[in-house]
Amino acid sequence: MVEVHSPEFKENSRKALKDKQLQRALQHVRGNFIDKRAKSIADLPEFEALRDNARDIKNHALEHLDLYLEAYEERVVAQGGHVHWARDSIEARGLVLDICRKVNAKTVTKGKSMITEEIALNEFLEKNGITPIETDLGEYIIQLRGEHPSHIIAPAVHVTKDQVAEDFKKAHTHLPPDRSMDEPENLLLEARGILREKFIAADVGITGANFLVAETGTSVIVTNEGNGDLTQTLPKVHIVMASIEKIVPTLEDMSQILRVLARSATGQEMSVYTTLSTGPKRKTDVDGPEQYHVILLDNGRSNMLGTEFQDMLRCIRCGACMNHCPVYHSVGGHAYGWVYPGPMGAVLTPQLIGVDKGGHLPNASTFCGRCEEVCPMRIPLPKMMRHWREREFERHLMPSGQRRYLQLWAWMAKRPAIYRLATNVVTTGMRILAIGRGRFKKFLMAGSWTAERDLPAPQGGTFVSQWKRQRPEQVR
């Protein structure tokens, strides 16, 4: 598993807020993604109905997950492919290594895949003498930088163009050092030239999957660079890494969900490439892999079935929730400290690494509800974050000071007479402390609030006590 830094969320976010480069890069998320999505949806009146359909399709698939997974496996095998079941990261990595070793693989090209991040596949392959090469441009950049994705569809969104130019200069030493790198096109062409050779030399290609289609035994990826196609057609062996909830019953179901996926993600009607792979190369095919393997990863997902978190398994990883999240906009993806950032990460991470480690994430939300508003699969993200908070509360994982405050307040809120007395004392006291001013620059009990904001002072006297005095006949 990738190293977990979620318990340090607070420190991570403090650092992120001070990182000027990162803050500049995050402006891109705040503007671009949101405007493009809004525009593409305005152009499609049936978008809301499509969302309902997409939700229903996935709900149905999840209700019959075992049935569809088995049907999928049967189709893949019938077409000459292999299906491997992996309970966790260790099993999944072992399966990849076995397949690679059988063909003496030296290099492996990779299409974009978040679950290979989840199981820390690259580090594992390197340790075992196999070189993984990320072929999605964003992934390639962060691989050079020794980083992990900070966004599930735009992995290098935290990096600026100038940083990329520097990284390329450091990594591509065989190219003339004085070459022009001012335009994004130059960087793109340079990466393209380098990756082209890697595609041809690779022994194994690994891709993720956006969908697994039970009816046909097909795995589907969507990309904008075509790197996925080269990854899976050029090498002798194609490995598809997919988590079990990617299943949909039919091709028709897949195409329905595709209509909400790209629009929600990047505001495109469709991604540039939608690639379907069904088994290894057939006799009549001109090209394609000789071996086709699918590794189906559970890694804790089946535990979500039948719980209040089942809806999360509908997620199609479009990234709309983080694109619209004010917290993500402020701190970026790395602050979340593990693989999945933003609202979807705040729900998924505690499930996959434990709520004791991922507990900050579902708390770091204002519950503004914008994530749920834009989620194409209508996943009630805030509600599920609240469920995690409930689990934390039950297990006494909340800081004890916070818990004491909360319980004292709740105790009073249930005792109106005491509450009235206390609130009158507090408002009067604060009024006196304000000495005629409308706000506090500092306030002992609210130090964290007043570090960068003033605290408005109460007007004095509570509403209820004033009303009681002024309008005793209108009291209940």
Binding site: K10, E452, P456
Partner: protein
Amino acid sequence: MNEKLRVGLFVTCLVDLFRPSVGFAAAKLLEDAGCEVLVPVSQTCCGQPAYNSGDRADTREIAEKVITAFEEFDYVVAPSGSCAGMIRKHYPLLFAGDKALEKRAKALAGKTYELVSFLTEVCNVTQVEAQYDGVVTYHDSCSGLRELGIRDQPRELLATVKGLKLSEMKNADVCCGFGGTFSVKYPDISNSIVAEKTATIEDAKPDLLLAGDLGCLLNMAGKLKRQGSNVHVRHVAEVLAGMTDKPPIAESRRDLRGSDG
């Protein structure tokens, strides 16, 4: 026939504590709309702080007290989308499975409204008798906007305030970073979000910032004042009721005199 609607005013804990004048403005608006306003003195809070902290047991106990205090009225009105949303959308979920209480929770949910939407949707108020000479910008508080669909109602009524000019800010529907306990648990992030918000507020060049939730207003006012802004901040009910005699949020008569000089 034509009997006055009996409205229980759920004033919310923040208005009760910080800004009673919002409660009186709400009462005036309701009475102008022909309602009889009653205030149960046993009210404390809707329970959101406990609910959003994962403490369901305390939330249920608090909610049960709210139900008991307010179920006698024709309607329950709160000058807050957040608290009204809590009662409308979340109370029934809290008691799911508990037949008797679920029924009562649903009944209360069905007759609980946020103030401005109650005026326009139930009382059919189309205009108010009020005057405010100045430029106003309006922030859509998240719960009101997304749980209750409050966006046009306050703008429609504000348009009938004499002398008032509305200058929309960019991203009026984006969170201000308050988030209740969030602002205390993650003050740095909350501050970063509110700083983004105050920048868009300033860009709209208003004299006055309005919103329908006091929590957001305290947060935005606190940040604006720390930044030395001249933008005043009030709850939308104060302007709609024509009750702007009290100093704006985070200001006092003494502060106002100071800023004149």
